[in-house]
């Protein structure tokens, strides 16, 4: 079942679209689910489908098409590192290895305490700040160095997201 908060948010989103086009709100609805639960389970997709009166498979298509939706639990803080060309030229490879070593996990894994998850991301459109990472798809951090990464992780550990 979708929580009260989620349905309230979806209802607000639905006002942007014609009444017979409820499925237009699917991307937003999935985002709300992920914001609340950290990831989108198939049951949640089925609930979204029912709420928006659209086929379950159509929701699944959207959820799997867009990279930013987590299809499995990715920890409290999902760190998505851009590995596209510009970032890679600017040292995204080192960023990834540093994060992996620091957190003790590989790409697409979650730390044992469930705090951090690591993902590979696509170009975030801010190559000027390369290399980049994105926290929970909400906060972009650029010009990454080991020191900067340490401070980002420390802030997140300390609850300052």
């Amino acid at each position: 079942m979708l929580s009260q908060q989620i349905t309230t948010l979806i209802d607000k989103e639905l006002k942007k679209y014609p009444a017979d086009q409820r499925q237009s709100a699917v991307m937003a609805a999935l985002r709300f689910v992920q914001d609340e639960k950290g990831w989108i389970a198939p049951e949640d997709m089925a609930d979204v489908a029912q709420y928006l009166d659209m086929p379950q498979m159509a929701v699944y298509e959207v959820a799997t098409f867009y990279h930013m939706y987590n299809l499995k639990p990715m920890g409290k803080h999902t760190l998505t590192v851009c590995t596209n060309l510009s970032c890679t030229l600017c040292g995204a490879g080192d960023t990834v290895s540093y994060l992996e070593q620091k957190l003790g996990i590989k790409m697409n894994e979650v730390t044992a305490d469930g705090k951090f998850g690591l993902r590979e991301g696509e170009c975030m459109g801010a190559c000027i700040d390369a290399p980049l990472l994105n926290v929970n798809n909400k906060k972009m951090c650029g010009k990454l160095t080991p020191e900067k990464i340490d401070s980002i992780l420390a802030d997140l550990e300390g609850g300052k997201a």
Partner: protein, 759 residues
């Protein structure tokens, strides 16, 4: 109309059509995969790239609209280079496993790669891997790496079947066709995805590795499983039917086939087939030769006719017996002096007999239904009873038609329903009468308002309405509504040859008994043609009791079935694929067909069996050489079109008294006839699962039982143990219990009082 030029050929085509349509009209082939004339345009395979004058780049012919003076080149250097390039890309990830692929020999990709592919591949890297999927017992998705992502199957589900069960998940090179969380494809039209799939990704599970397409002979036939008369291409090898494909006809089934029509053939090769005549002697079944069996039948019938009287003999046939079989059956019965012959086995109200002006039929053509703009469906499990008619109406609804429904269940039709009235069976007459009244007084709301606003109105009575105990009243009311709305009304027949049965008088004419009366007042002898009484009759309990009480039961059947318990003779007859014959579909289309294969074992076509019986009983005029001779005699001087008439007069409407819970009985889609009931793959689908007792949740709480537990459902003397389930779409006061299934064959009439209690 506008003028364009394709490959130097001047073509006139309609404004708004696409280049590929114009080319196909002119007989010019353009290679393509994702384009399909009945589906929306996706333009994702890029195979149909053509050169268009003044266009800087090749354009996809399927998605490029024609314009005046356009010059298209499908085989120019630029076009062919583009097509070859696309082909190379398509083959990058396609496994080169044609020799072990089930699609080999009938594969669009294989054919196109001969035309546009290279002899070798420049791609040496690893190919992508896509895992096999299990999407149900009918469609195999074992080799999804072969998929070229044309999305025809997805679009078919969305647009034709009305439910999106398959989709394209993930993206880019990870894109794959799958169902939601390993769900199965449950559409009753799913088999069409196999035809649509241009490669070997979706193949037929029952047909897998049975034969290569070039080993098969192709025979024309007509479906025996519903009343549309869908065209079949029956494919055979070594005298066995191995596959059935649609025979395209835009007037009937377009290029589709329902799963029932497509996969029922498995029942033809069932182990339960009866292959030798058998006689019961001293309680034991003995195999005998035809001569002995037929003489036994003739002697038995003669004895009863001479002793108890010919009116003690009754004959029952199923509505999917051929025209010739039904004609000879009634001729035989009348020849020995009995008028008791009928094929309307599930009908319970015969009060329209003698008050109808002609044979009940669809009242319009199937294509007309697709063109109607206002439709009222009364009493029909439309999707399950007539899957392709439902698909056609779905298209009409997309074009703006309004469909209205009066029925006792609220099953999802997978289309937008304008108005619906879901009422208990005993309230149907009242509900329809109200619509008639509203329509007469020009109401602008509800169903009547919807019908009044249309120009081409169709009122259709489904199987449920025909089986209803007040069927004649429903018919009279439908007639009234059609009259005041300037519309047409008709019956969506429940069997392949129902119209034929009427036209050859396989119904009692004078003092004879109809199907229900013959069973209510048991006869001493019965002749059964294709009938399994406990599954095919309106009242299973009564039918069985009548059979058991009879002195002589002659069962002509393609199968060993329940008759082994009460019959005295079993005569193996040929199903429709093994005999020539004729079906007259609901729309009055007379379609003759030849046998696709020879009869199995010693089985013989029923018309031949009846001919010999006629001769043995010394009835005149049984010297036929061919089914054609029978048909010519049966339809001699019959103007089929003129005989079709739904008009009825002298029917009074009144309320029906009921008490207690009422039964609502559907005949499940894969329980409709003897062949379908033995098609193993169809029987493995969700539609064929064990019947449940469906109740509204309020009724369930009155009973004090929870969903999922076993309850005892009883009618008359018989009862059945069924799982109880909730369907809040049902009206209160009814229990939905399917008929036509062995699990409910102990119950009584399809309508009427039924009790449910804790087991």
């Amino acid at each position: 109309m506008i003028n364009i030029e394709i490959d130097g050929k001047q073509i006139q085509t309609e404004n708004g059509s696409t280049v590929i349509e114009a080319a196909h009209q002119a007989g010019i082939a353009i290679p393509h995969f994702c384009y399909h004339k009945k589906l929306s345009i996706a333009a994702n395979c890029r195979m149909c790239l053509v050169q268009v004058e003044k266009a800087p780049k090749p354009l996809p012919a399927c998605a490029t609209p024609v314009s005046e003076g356009m010059k298209v080149f499908t085989h120019s250097e630029q076009a062919v280079k583009a097509q070859k390039g696309v082909m190379e890309f398509l083959l990058v990830n396609h496994p080169l496993d044609c020799p072990i692929c089930d699609q080999g020999g009938e594969c669009m990709l294989q054919d196109m790669s001969v035309g546009y592919g290279q002899g070798h591949s420049r791609y040496h890297e690893e190919k992508r891997m896509v895992l096999a999927k299990d999407i149900g017992p009918l469609v195999a998705a074992e080799e999804m790496a072969r998929c070229i992502n044309c999305t025809r199957c997805v679009r078919f589900g969305q647009e034709i079947a009305g439910q999106m069960e398959l989709g394209q998940a993930f993206r880019g090179e990870h894109a794959e066709i799958m169902s939601f969380v390993s769900g199965t494809v449950e559409s009753e039209l799913s088999g069409n995805m196999i035809d649509l799939c241009p490669v070997g990704a979706l193949t037929s599970k029952p047909f897998r590795y049975k034969a290569r397409s070039w080993e098969l002979s192709r025979r024309r036939s007509v479906s025996a499983h519903d009343s549309l008369g869908s065209g079949l291409a029956v494919q055979t090898k070594n005298n066995r039917v191995l596959r059935v494909l649609p025979l395209e006809n835009d007037e009937i089934n377009e290029c589709w086939l329902s799963d029932r029509d497509r996969f029922a053939y498995e029942g033809l090769n069932s182990e339960q087939r009866l292959t030798k005549p058998m006689i019961k002697q001293g309680g034991q079944w003995q195999e005998v030769d035809w001569q002995a069996a037929l003489e036994f039948c003739a002697n038995g019938l003669r004895q009863i006719a001479n002793g108890a009287g010919a009116e003690q003999i009754g004959a029952l046939a199923t509505g999917n017996s051929t025209l010739e079989e039904m004609y000879l059956l009634q001729k035989l019965l009348r020849g020995i002096g009995s008028d008791n012959v009928d094929f309307r086995l599930r009908q319970s109200d015969f009060s329209a007999d003698g008050k109808q002006q002609g044979a009940p039929w669809l009242g319009m053509s199937i294509a007309d239904i697709g063109r109607a703009d206002r439709i009222l469906i009364v009493g029909s499990f439309l999707r399950k009873d007539h899957p392709l008619l439902a698909a056609r109406i779905r298209q009409a609804v997309k074009q703006g038609a309004q469909i209205n429904v009066i029925h006792a269940t609220d099953d999802d039709l997978l289309m937008k329903v304008a108005h619906k009235a879901i009422v208990a069976p005993n309230a149907m007459v009242e509900t329809l009468a109200q619509v008639a009244k509203d329509a007469a007084s020009k109401h602008s709301n509800g169903i009547a308002g919807s019908l009044a606003s249309g120009e081409r109105v169709a009122v259709l009575l489904g199987n449920f309405a025909q089986q209803h105990p007040q069927a004649a009243q429903l018919q009279a009311l439908a007639q009234q509504i059609a009259n005041v709305t300037n519309g047409k009304f008709g019956f969506i027949g429940d069997s392949a040859n129902g119209v034929g049965g009427y036209l050859v008088n396989a119904i009692p004419a004078g003092k004879g008994l109809n199907a229900a009366a013959m069973l209510a007042a048991p006869r001493k002898a019965y002749v059964l043609l294709n009938v399994e009484p406990e599954l095919d009759c309106a009242d299973a309990q009564q039918a069985i009791a009548a059979m058991q009480a009879a002195d002589l039961v002659i069962a002509m059947s393609a199968y060993k079935h329940g008759a082994t318990e009460y019959a005295d003779v079993l005569l193996p007859i040929a199903p429709f694929t093994e005999t020539s014959g004729t079906f007259i579909s609901s729309e009055g289309r007379v379609q003759s067909f030849n046998g696709s294969v020879k009869p199995l074992g010693e089985a013989r076509p029923a018309w031949k069996v009846l001919r010999v019986l006629g001769n043995l009983l010394k009835v005149d005029g049984f010297g036929y050489e061919t089914t054609q001779a029978v048909r010519d005699e049966a339809l001699n001087g019959v103007d089929v079109a003129a005989r079709l008439n739904n008009a009825v007069s002298g029917i009074e409407t009144g309320a029906a008294a009921v008490n207690g819970l009422q039964r609502v009985a559907d005949v499940p889609i894969y329980a409709t006839d003897a062949i379908v009931r033995r098609a193993v793959s169809l029987q493995a689908t969700k539609d064929a699962m064990q019947p449940k007792a469906w109740l509204h949740s309020k009724e369930l709480s009155k009973l004090g039982v929870a969903a999922g537990v076993q309850v005892k459902v009883a009618q008359g003397q018989g009862s059945a143990l069924l799982e109880v389930a909730i369907d809040d779409g049902l009206p209160e006061g009814v229990v939905r219990v399917a008929a036509g299934h062995p699990a409910t064959a102990t119950l009584g009439a399809m309508f009427g009082t039924i009790t449910v209690e804790r087991a």
